[in-house]
């Protein structure tokens, strides 16, 4: 039977991508197979079944993962290979596409398929437009992270396939988690996000307090992490940073460049504070306050305290 393969280096993302794969498989009359590399991963579920590729190490580099999957794909001929659009997932999918000379649709959600092609939707031009993209089978795809629920359960059987040893000339010599105690912006219900309007690093403290009082996390726009280095880069929300969709996104002193908005536009409610009433952030907001954050933020904290 025709198969749609799912691979991600992360169990959580793998289960999301599996949900997307179910939609593709339905349209194409195929089944979903979730790949495991090197060793079994109990955290990964699949309705169609799992395919364990033996040969690569259990946490392979993207290069080794792509090589192992390509070897199996040449023989088993899946109609599509889906990865998560994480940094590693993009690399694996792109390498696979190049190895197999197939097309790869990128950053897609709302995936589907007919008998011939896979299709989906993606943001382009920093979120200014949505493109429908399509590619004839066989094809690869990177699935937008956070766009699908995690597939739970499934009881397909486990198949094994020996692809032989793979190696990557790129050797990992060290791995370090990004700053300890880093925020998990992706799961935060409330995000207070700081921008250029914050005058000095020390002033971030009041926003951090505000975030705490709102039971949320602190994020920032690109200049604060990349140019000024006031916050570690995992706080950076935007096209090249983290994409978030909290219940409440409070943008403080953020002008609202397209690249920033691309990272937060799926938030349920957006509120913003900016001194510049023409700031584009107001176009992306449900509630806007034109004012000095140094006056408005303390006033919000007072209002919150009065409520408690």
């Amino acid at each position: 039977m025709k198969a749609v393969w799912v691979y991600s280096e992360s169990d959580a993302v793998s289960n999301e991508v599996a949900s997307a794969a179910v939609d593709v498989a339905k349209g194409a009359g195929a089944e979903v197979q979730v790949l495991e590399l090197g060793a079994q991963r109990p955290g990964v579920f699949a309705s169609g079944g799992k395919l364990l590729l033996k040969g690569p190490p259990s946490s392979p580099t993207p290069g080794a993962a792509a090589e192992a999957i390509a070897r199996a794909a040449r023989e088993l001929q899946p109609i599509a290979i889906l990865t998560g659009a994480t940094r590693t997932g993009r690399e694996v999918a792109s390498r696979l596409a190049a190895k197999l000379r197939i097309g790869c649709i990128a950053e897609v959600s709302k995936l589907g398929a007919d008998g011939e092609s896979i299709f989906g939707e993606r943001n382009v031009f920093a979120g200014k437009a949505v493109a429908r993209v399509s590619c004839p089978f066989p094809a690869a795809a990177t699935v937008k992270v956070g766009a699908y629920p995690r597939l739970a359960g499934g009881n397909g059987g486990l198949q094994e396939k020996d692809v032989g040893a793979v190696s990557d000339p790129v050797k990992v010599v060290a791995r370090e988690a990004k700053s300890a105690g880093a925020v998990d912006l992706k799961s935060a219900k409330v995000i207070v996000s700081a921008g250029r309007g914050v005058k000095k690093k020390e002033d971030l403290a009041i926003l951090e307090e505000l975030a705490k009082e709102m039971h949320g996390a602190l994020g920032c726009s690109r200049p604060l992490s990349a140019d000024l280095g006031w916050l570690p880069e995992e706080h950076h929300i935007g096209l090249t940073g983290v994409t978030v969709k909290p219940e409440l996104y409070l943008a403080v002193g953020i002008s609202g460049q397209l690249q920033h908005v691309a990272g937060m536009k799926d938030s349920k409610v957006v509120a913003s504070i900016n001194t510049d009433k023409d700031a584009p952030i107001f176009q992306a907001s449900d509630y806007g306050v034109v004012g000095d954050l140094y006056q408005v933020v303390p006033a919000i904290r007072k209002a919150l305290a009065a409520r408690a």
């Binding site: 510049d276 009433k277 107001f282 176009q283 034109v290």
Partner: protein
């Protein structure tokens, strides 16, 4: 918003069909630089929270001041219309930096045209590369554009001139290390190059201005200030003519600067009008702004064409004194009106927000500085009446 817009590009194409691509590359890169490095600093310059030194030096490093000067002196050898456009862009990014740079470059223009070989060699490259900041000292406490009423004197003593008197409202005063000074000698108004610091050269305190707050303006005072005779520029007694010539060119640039100010006021007004519409405010409010938007846009377009016309005549070697003055009178008055309209469009916000009324405050200077509108109207009418004979 791109400071160097599609309209600028189209005008370059019309003015310079053979070289417009290159000129547009230069100007669009410069515009991009200004957007990132100067524009965000502009409110801080107005509020006195940032110094002009860094942005001005950054512009020197980029090479903005090299644009109109010959390649043999280290310049880029590009047409004056390209330079004037660059000043317009800078006027949009920050008017006070534009003012400082424009006056600095007017001194370089004077050096190029009237300085001798040795003076050019010694100073010209240093000025256009920004290693030496220059200042233009003509206006006096009791006399403006009328150089015959000049009270500052230069007395020849041996191999030196001794200068006494004072100059008022001098941009870059105190900061600059080279001054182009006009003083009356026995033969009439003459022009001198003064290096600073030097004995007998003093500066008054920074004047509190309505606008253009990023730039320094002060009185320059000469007390028995001695200058070697080789620092006399051109011929003794011809200084008045030189000043006029330099100011003709500067007026084109000042016109450009004011078009730039009007442009930023216009951009803010359009954004505001659109936001009002988007936020569901009464349509009538938006309708009222429409006439103003149309007038602003028309004025900006006309001002731009006028200064580019004058610049093109200058490039081609024609007499552009009247056209330069027309451009300046029109553009400065137009920009003042545009900035006034911008305040009106923004309503209470306009009157209470530094970031908006500063454009009006900046624009307000230049119907006065470098030839008042009144004096220039006289110049234009005199020229045109003579032409029509």
């Amino acid at each position: 918003m791109a400071i160097y817009s599609a309209e600028h590009r189209r005008l370059m194409e019309m003015l310079h069909p053979d070289h417009h691509r290159e000129y547009s590359e230069v100007l669009s890169s410069l515009g991009g630089f200004m957007e990132k490095e100067i524009l965000p600093l502009s409110p801080k310059l107005d509020a006195g929270e940032a110094s002009i030194v860094e942005p001005r030096n950054a512009l020197f490093e980029q090479g903005m001041t090299l644009i109109p000067f010959p390649v043999e002196h280290g310049g880029l050898g590009l047409p004056f219309s390209v330079y004037a456009t660059a000043v317009e862009l800078l006027g949009t990014a920050d008017a006070s930096v534009a003012l400082s740079v424009e006056i600095h470059n007017a001194v370089a223009e004077g050096l190029l045209r009237f300085g001798d070989h040795r003076q050019r060699k010694k100073y010209l490259n240093a000025v256009i590369t920004g290693k030496t900041l220059a200042s233009f000292a003509l206006t006096e406490p009791a006399s403006g554009s009328d150089s015959s009423a000049m009270a500052t004197t230069a007395e020849k003593k041996g191999g030196e001139y001794v200068i006494n008197g004072s100059k008022m409202f001098i941009t870059n005063a105190g900061e600059a290390s080279l001054y182009l000074v006009f003083a009356k000698s026995k033969k009439g108004p003459s022009c001198f190059l003064l290096e600073a610091p030097r004995q007998g050269l003093k500066f008054g305190g920074d004047l509190k201005k309505l606008g253009m707050k990023g730039s320094k303006t002060a009185e320059v005072i000469f007390e028995d200030c001695r200058v070697p005779e080789e620092n006399l520029v051109g011929e003794e007694g011809q200084g008045g003519e030189y000043a006029k010539e330099i100011l003709h060119g500067a007026r084109i640039v000042v016109a450009a600067l004011n078009v730039g100010i009007a442009q930023i006021a216009y951009e803010k007004s359009v954004a505001y009008a659109k936001a009002r519409k988007a936020f569901g405010k009464p349509v009538s409010e938006f309708q009222l702004t429409r006439e103003k938007i149309a007038d602003m846009k028309t004025g900006i377009g006309a001002g731009r064409l006028l200064y580019l016309y004058a610049a093109r005549i200058k490039e081609l070697g024609g007499d552009y004194a009247s056209e330069a003055s027309q451009a300046k009178v029109f553009a400065t008055e137009m920009s003042l009106e545009a900035c006034d309209d911008a305040i009106q469009i923004h309503g209470g916000y306009g009157y209470t927000t530094d970031d908006l009324h500063r454009h009006w405050r900046d624009a307000r200077l230049l119907t006065i500085g470098e030839g008042t509108s009144e004096v220039l109207r006289m110049l234009i009418s005199r020229k045109e009446l003579a032409r029509s004979q």
